[in-house]
Symmetry: C2
């Protein structure tokens, strides 16, 4: 897999395949073979425009090997005297040593051995999908030939294709590649048996054409000062930058630029304006080095735990992996940053809560509400902050104006199905799908109910047992084991649901890649969300509310009484459940799935490999970069990473009122997560095809939706799971002296022991030493001596009304404040909008200057004409200001 | 005022003034003089691209008058044999009869007479503002000279500037105009004394340059079929179109196009692709006619009450007035259309409600809720529908991709103030502003309270009076007069508040035009909203709730008891108030302010005019178009129109639950309003400067905000202003037999007459013929014989809880459904997104073809080269696929 960084690479993921024609990819065996190896990244940044090494292609006869003195001068530093590259790590070249390899396709030459076939097939389907995506622009235009879909055929593992047929298709495909202007070379000296590599080089004119199609923004020669506001502001900014210097990664891209060059959509006609003409030779070498170091730099400044406290080098990440991955890490960074204050507040609230656990101070309530509103506001602020950050990145990455062009390719499978006319038989799929989804949700509910039963029965069993030691630890034991069972179930179901969601989405055969992804994400999100939150929602809102009352208990599955809450409410249990779920999920998923299993796989692969370690080491030394990279894992997209974070975001925002430590846990997890993902991306996966993206897409909508749901959920959590509202109501309406004295008495109702139904009365009526004929229980019900004994009392309704009123007020206040914050904070940061404005004016000025230059030239020409034909000059005296210029061109 | 339609006109509102320099506008007396007369409209539509009459400017010596045979052939049809235009209404030309007038500036030559000065000064300040806006791009770049602001100076009416100074500045300005490439002609034969006109012609090359700057999308030669879906869909579409044919205006633009030509941002280098080259001559004439007729067409097919049932010719409106005005009318059309089903449902509900007014059927409640949810959904659907319509218009009008370029010019006054350094003294303005706003809101409240007092006192007075006739009509009289007083107050305050808001915003000196407009709109909206809705909110939520109870009434201003509601709730009164407010506002504002006052003004102007009618008629005949238009009213922006509609939207959405006829009233009003506005725009105002706009801006946000508030307001209206919830609660919990029998009894509490406070007991204790010692009143309170007499009872709290629960459920269900609808309906209509996709592919194909053509040409050239130098050909055999093309150009 190549890690070169020529701008040529990027065209592969856009429309390099303009003229490729679909046959090689809708054909079967061959198209399963070519693997899109890691592409070079398209560079759009001002600093990296010039194309290093490109000068070698200025000559038409690139087959000649002798260097041209006038063009390769700056490059010869890279080569030893014998012509071999001094820095082999800078990336391989074609056999002429002059044309750089921009891209590598891999294909099977003969049937590979079992293991290898396995591993490469795994890669195949993924790479094919990606390759097809980049080619589907073409295929959606050209009439589809009714051939079998390669992916399906691949899955069916048919092997009845002849080598000849394969070679024929491959050659056809290669011809199409050549037709687009790409240059190819086959790698025959491959060390991996059964795999052939096809190296591709994109020459300068192809790059120019593609850049023009893509309307890539290129820096022009025009450079301007970025004013950073007034003097004081600038000083403060510099001071802050100085103070936070150790937090910034040691990457040049992160230093504050005081000078920026104007960028303009690339056009060959306007090329004289861009910087590349002038700066090309002088900058080629330095940039070349800089780029090849970026992988190393990324590792040192990003993918290492030792830099966990530092900002991420987002610019570098984006240059190396593309905008889409860059945005993910930028988002993760912003989210983690926003967790820091939330975690601090959470810890303080938790400690304060622990210290004052038995104080009946309504100020806790007020404090709690304030915390809650702060948290909800924080989640709004987070969205706003992210919007602005995204805007800033869009500007820095020259993506403004890109949005309209976003592509949405038809999926090959969809077109294949349309061709096969197999779509009509799938009319029943929506119903099946819905049914299955409901079934899965029902399974989740059933499991939660199972856990409840487990808790009830274990508790009953332990209650009956007479060992005092067992009894004393009942609560803790039961709670903890139940929570752990829940956790395990959640983790297992998560994996199952993810596969089911993918399977269902495949069944649906969505038309485009984008809709496929969105549907998959939506389904996975729903299932995972229900899975993760059902036990918590039960604990928060239903437990202890379905108990019945003394004399009329609710019994489930025969004679088990429904669970009650402790006197202080179910908050403690909710807290334990949240704690275990969060910590456990993170630990297990991070450690086991993201570190453990890949390591295990590697170990297994090594063991199964026929080569012993020495041989392998030797091979490793001689293998080229793309051969080594062939064995890395494929890149499967960002969805799993985002999904994990969104569920965590849900935990933090939905139940922060119950579990103030959630932000802290999330923060700790994310600090690890960033570096873990970074390591994975840099070291263990094939480099993904760089994809342009302006925003995080559907994830932003999911986040918005979650923060909306969070408001109402939190309102209910505060008002229904705690004693705060009853306390307030008591203090201000029922309390005789305005204090909390008598509150406990107020919350307890009377029960006459003689009203027990036969068989349910206590086993030991004398366990207090005297006969009990009246007891108390926690509820607001009429006393036995009222006209309507054991009915819900007036206090119950008053407190319910207060609780509901609180929910309404809370929800609407938070929503109003959110909208206000949304309205208050402009989406585009002020300095960016100022700079955009300034750039536009400068651009107009630049063109006006050019325009005037043209006009002057035309005038000069005119006066020459006048000189040759003075008669016409007499008829029309030159009027420079209104002279129509180049009418031949302008109609 | 010119009504020509050359594409040249539009450049004035963009950056025609690139090189103008600011001096003439920051100078005083002169810059008050040039008035931007109505500009010609920039045409971007495919059908109207070619520039009629432009061919005359192909020759450099445009001063020559003899027509060139090869270029003016198609145009000579327009001229009689003596060279005078056959169609003088087609628009005036320069004195050479060849260059069309694109734009006219007006200025004062000498001191005008008092009256005329008044009228022209009115025009001045507005026109200057608009001219400055179009020039501010330049002025924000150039260093401002510390000269006095023209507007302020104009307001101060200083007259101490010399004619010479004015002429000097004018000449400087004209020179700058010439510098940009515009061509000027002074109109000396002006019939209006004291006013000079400066005609401007924009030649082709200037148009080209500006089009390139603006990235105007132009149709290319490439034409493609617009597939309208499958055969069945297409047939249905055609059928619907046939059925609704009479509803469509007879304008060509509205026929369904089966063919569309690809459009591409204009670029002189790519000009050979655009249609103008080829089609120019053939289309010039027809288009010329078409355009000049558009004003007439607009009048017949749009600005006439006789076509009230038809769709609006939006395409034509946009061509004539620009996108901003076009979007307003499109929005108004969509809104009016959405009112039709709402009005129908409303009428049905109203009639059903009238028929079953005394039935105690909870099904009304369910029906009401359903209606309400439908209504809220409708308002969401309206937003969605509008988003899609906007998207479609953006596509049809070739505005996709325009958004990024939107400009935000600094206001001249801001820059003037910065120059004058008068900003610092205004630090106290925010406080003053806030204070004033609060004061105004307080005034509104006070007035509402005043009206309450009026009602109470009149009622008391009438009660005391012993005339039975008076007493029987008490309720109706009081309600109606109070509502009318409210209405008059609202209308008067509306006008006052509008001026105060404008004044406050001017005090703030916002930096840019956009922020000025937004702040003004925001303030006006808040004030008008509070003004319009305070009486209604009082009626809906507070009236009858602050009454107290028998024996403990609430008294205001001495001994007046607060108003009670009728037994059925305050719904009826709310209904009357809403009805009178809506109808009255619409009638008075439409008839008086929009028709009456302008007519009155015209009449006054005529009377004061020194000319008698005959003279005037004669003058009218000889006056040129721009001279006549000089006397029309100025265009003051769309804000008042939008504001009126938004307040109406608020009425319809916020209180539709209380007043089901609101949509009907709004519908009737809007049908008139559309044609009224149309007439005003076509006939009575100077044609506005065409402004590009992609959406309706801040108004969309206000609409969104309103529909959010509507949800919660409606939830409260339903649950608190009606008996529905108590009925439901009674039926399902208290009713002994599950029917509504005994409900009235249930809602009434007992009161012991002996508990009246001394002096407040009834005057006629025996008026029923027997002594009353126990009476009933409408409230949920404990009876006198309970432990806590006259306390709120358990039923009260239960019903309150039910009401609040209903609010929560209703709000969240509606919000969820809204979000779901929002998510379900894609923002971009499917056919449009398909077409955009198709166009993009076609565009790429077009360019690839061009690219290949270039490559082939290069190959031909190469083989020629090879022929001349065979040695080099041997060294490098031509490899067409990878040949670097035009390297000289590409670095």
């Amino acid at each position: 897999m190549e890690r070169q960084d020529e701008p040529g690479g990027g065209l592969k993921h856009h429309d390099s395949a303009e003229e490729l024609g679909s046959p090689p990819f809708s054909s079967c065996e061959y198209s399963r073979s070519p693997e899109l190896e890691e592409p070079a990244k398209m560079r759009r940044n001002d600093n990296y425009l010039p194309v290093p090494g490109e000068e070698k292609n200025l000559d038409v006869d690139f087959t000649s090997t002798k260097p041209r003195s006038n063009e390769s001068i700056p490059m010869k530093n890279l080569y030893a005297d014998d012509g071999s590259p001094l820095y082999p790590q800078l990336g391989p070249y074609f056999s002429d040593g002059r044309r750089r390899v921009d891209y590598v396709l891999a294909y099977h030459i003969q049937k590979p051995s079992g293991i290898r076939r396995q591993s490469s097939r795994f890669g195949d389907t993924n790479f094919i999908r990606r390759l097809r995506r980049s080619l589907s622009m073409r295929s959606s235009r050209a009439p589809l030939q009714p051939k079998e879909d390669p992916e399906i055929a691949a899955q069916e593992q048919r092997t009845d294709y002849h080598e000849d047929d394969k070679r024929f298709r491959r050659e056809e495909f290669e011809e199409n590649l050549l037709e687009t202007g790409l240059e190819l070379e086959k790698d025959d000296g491959c060390k991996i048996p059964g795999i052939g590599f096809l190296k591709i080089h994109a020459p300068w004119n192809v790059l120019c054409r593609e850049a023009e199609f893509m309307k890539l923004k290129m820096p022009t020669k025009k450079v301007y000062d970025v004013k950073q506001g007034s003097n004081v502001v600038e000083k403060i900014r510099l001071f802050i930058h100085k103070v936070t210097a150790p937090l910034h990664p040691k990457v040049d891209a992160n230093r504050p630029d005081s000078v920026k060059s104007l960028s303009h959509p690339f056009s060959r006609e306007k090329q004289h304006l861009t910087r590349c003409t002038k700066a090309k030779y002088s900058m080629a070498f330095t940039l070349f080095i800089a780029f090849c170091l970026s992988s190393q730099l990324l590792y040192e400044e990003w993918a290492s735990y030792s830099v966990f406290y530092k900002y991420q080098p987002i610019g570098l990440i984006r240059k190396y992996f593309g905008e889409k991955v860059g945005l993910y890490f930028a988002w993760l960074g912003v989210y983690t940053q926003m967790l820091i204050p939330a975690a601090i507040v959470g810890v303080i609230v938790f400690l304060y809560g622990c210290a004052t656990v038995d104080d009946n101070i309504p100020s806790i309530f007020v404090c709690n509400i304030m915390k809650q509103i702060t948290c909800d506001q924080k989640s709004v602020l987070f969205m706003e902050h992210w919007k602005r950050r995204q805007m800033r990145l869009n500007y820095i990455w020259d993506l403004t104006g890109f949005g309209e062009e976003e592509e949405d390719h038809n999926r090959a499978e969809y077109e294949f199905r349309v061709m096969q006319k197999t779509m009509k038989q799938e009319h029943s799929i929506p119903k099946v799908k819905l049914g299955l989804c409901l079934l899965l949700i029902a399974v989740t509910f059933a499991i939660v109910f199972g856990v409840i039963l487990y808790r009830i029965s274990i508790k009953a069993a332990l209650h009956i047992s007479t060992y005092p030691a067992a009894r004393s630890n009942i609560r803790a034991t039961v709670k903890t084991t139940a929570a752990i069972i829940n956790l395990i179930v959640i983790i297992i179901l998560d994996e199952i649901y993810a596969s089911i969601a993918r399977w269902l989405t495949t069944l649906e055969v969505p038309k485009t890649d984008k809709s496929f992804e969105e549907r998959l994400i939506f389904k996975t999100f729903i299932l995972k969300f229900v899975n993760a939150f059902t036990p918590i929602v039960y604990l928060a809102f239903f437990r202890g509310r379905l108990v019945g009352r003394p004399g009329n208990y609710l019994y489930v599955v025969g004679s088990y009484r429904m669970e009650e809450c402790a006197h202080a409410g179910c908050l403690m249990e909710l807290c334990i459940q949240l704690c275990i779920t969060m910590l456990g999920k993170q630990l297990i998923q991070n450690n086991l799935f993201e570190i453990g299993i890949p390591k295990l796989k590697k170990l297994l692969r090594k063991r199964k490999s026929d080569l012993d370690s020495k041989q392998e080491e030797e091979l490793n030394k001689t293998m080229q970069r793309h051969e080594k990279d062939h064995f890395l894992g494929p890149f499967v997209g960002l969805s799993p990473e985002y999904m994990e974070m969104i569920i965590q975001f849900g935990m933090v925002t939905l139940f922060v009122a119950s579990f103030p430590l959630a932000p802290l846990f999330a923060l700790l997890n994310n600090i690890i997560e960033i570096r873990l993902d970074a390591k994975k991306f840099v070291m263990e996966l094939r480099r993904p095809i760089a994809a342009k993206a302006k925003d995080i897409g559907i994830w932003y909508n999911l986040l918005r939706g979650l923060s909306k749901v969070a408001v109402i959920v939190n309102a209910f959590v505060i008002s229904f799971t705690s004693d705060f509202i009853p306390r307030l109501v008591y203090q201000y309406t029922y309390s005789p002296d305005g204090t909390m004295h008598g509150f406990i008495n107020h919350t307890l109702s009377y029960f006459n022991v003689s009203d027990f139904q036969p068989g349910t009365d206590p086993l030991q009526p004398m366990h207090l030493g005297y006969p009990v004929d009246m007891c108390r229980y926690k509820d607001y019900r009429e006393p036995p001596w009222s006209n309507t004994p054991y009915e819900l009392s007036k206090e119950f309704w008053a407190i319910l009304a207060a609780r509901l009123a609180f929910v309404i007020v809370f929800q609407n206040v938070v929503m109003l404040m959110s909208d206000f914050v949304d309205w208050l904070i402009p989406d585009i940061p002020k300095d960016i909008s100022l700079q955009i404005h300034k750039e536009k004016i400068l651009m107009v000025e630049l063109f006006m200057k050019e325009e005037q230059g043209k006009r002057l030239a035309a005038r000069d020409k005119d006066s020459q004409d006048n000189y040759t034909s003075p008669s016409s000059a007499n008829e029309s005296p030159p009027q420079p200001r209104s002279r129509p210029i180049s009418h031949a061109n302008c109609c």
